[in-house]
């Protein structure tokens, strides 16, 4: 079978790392880093998610086709978030006339 059986100690190591990162994200939330609080929180969350995907979900040992599917999926998530926010975050900086001004 193609199943790559990962030794259980890998699972325990990942589990322990996830626990440490959970503690870290709570601790850092109470430190005043200004705008960096969000960046750090999302970076830690993304690191945790990556560990779960690679090891618990065995993606590190999956086929290249599966990798392509997953990367494409996350690419579309990034497009969804980036294009939405590129609109909302720049509304005050663009000087295009608003629709109701033209009427």
């Amino acid at each position: 079978m193609a199943h790559h059986t990962i030794p259980t100690r890998v699972y325990y190591t990942i589990f322990f790392t996830l626990m440490v990162l959970t503690g870290l994200t709570v601790w850092v939330a109470f430190q005043d880093l200004g705008a960096w609080n969000d960046v750090v929180a999302l970076s830690i969350a993304t690191l945790k998610a990556t560990l779960v995907i690679l090891y618990f979900m065995h993606v590190r040992y999956s086929s290249k086709l599966t990798h392509a599917f997953i990367v494409a999926g996350f690419l579309f998530l990034v497009i969804l978030l980036a294009i939405t926010m590129s609109d909302y975050l720049t509304r005050d900086t663009l000087i295009a006339p608003k629709a109701w001004d033209l009427m």
């Binding site: 079978m1 199943h3 959970t22 939330a29 999302l42 999926g73 939405t84 926010m85 909302y88």
Partner: protein
């Protein structure tokens, strides 16, 4: 070898190809789930960027301890799920059932804690709708934060409930001896789903509970 394994469907060459196909299909489904939750996250980001102070006020009313405990509970359940898949690969029936059962117990504990939190928020008048009675600063925008809180955690909890149902099915089939060292694909696929639900919570916890704490 294995050319007539009872689990092999006739349109596949062998169990390996069948597993690849199942895995790819499961990921295609999970990608639709990622984009489904992505829509909720995009809505959250838009309103958070419009009303950062109100979101901080709303978030401050959530219980970090209960949210943190639930994060730990869910990560533990991911570990037990991963171990269930591990023993499924080895075809150890008893251990599959034990770890699936532990996963259900941890999932139920998560939902129990969530129910305690929801009850508290309803009694505090923070549930959006007619019963919303918070009248501190940014009341209308705090209501938006709680709309996101209930819809995102509610949709996550619904996925947990479905996951527990799927795990129950796995236990029944595992006890019947359906999963062996040669064939344990359903355990692995439902495992992928369970880990995905864990990942959603990994993002929900900091975005809902941990903003505006410093």
């Amino acid at each position: 070898m294995a050319n007539h394994h009872h689990a092999l469907q006739h349109h596949f060459e062998d169990l390996e190809q069948q597993f690849e196909s199942a895995s790819l299909g499961m990921w295609a489904f999970l990608i639709t789930e990622i984009l489904f939750f992505g829509g909720l996250f995009a809505g959250y980001l838009v309103y958070r960027s419009l009303y950062p102070e109100a979101f901080a006020v709303g978030s401050y009313k959530l219980d970090v301890l209960l949210g943190g405990v639930n994060t730990v509970v869910l990560i533990c359940s991911s570990l037990t799920m991963a171990l269930a898949v591990y023993w499924a690969h080895k075809g150890e029936r008893t251990k599959i059932v034990v770890f699936l059962f532990l996963t259900i117990v941890l999932g139920a504990a998560f939902l129990g804690i969530k129910a305690v939190e929801y009850t508290h928020k309803f009694h505090a008048g923070l549930a959006p709708g007619n019963a919303f009675s918070y009248d501190g600063p940014f009341a209308d925008q705090v209501r938006i934060f709680y709309s996101f809180y209930f819809s995102m955690t509610g949709m996550h909890a619904l996925h947990m409930v479905i996951g527990i149902g799927l795990l129950t099915y796995l236990i029944i089939r595992a006890r019947q001896g359906a999963y062996t060292a040669e064939y344990s694909t359903p355990v692995e696929m439902i495992g992928l789903y369970w880990h995905f639900v864990d990942i959603v919570w990994i993002y929900l916890f900091p975005l809902l509970y941990l903003i505006g704490r410093s």
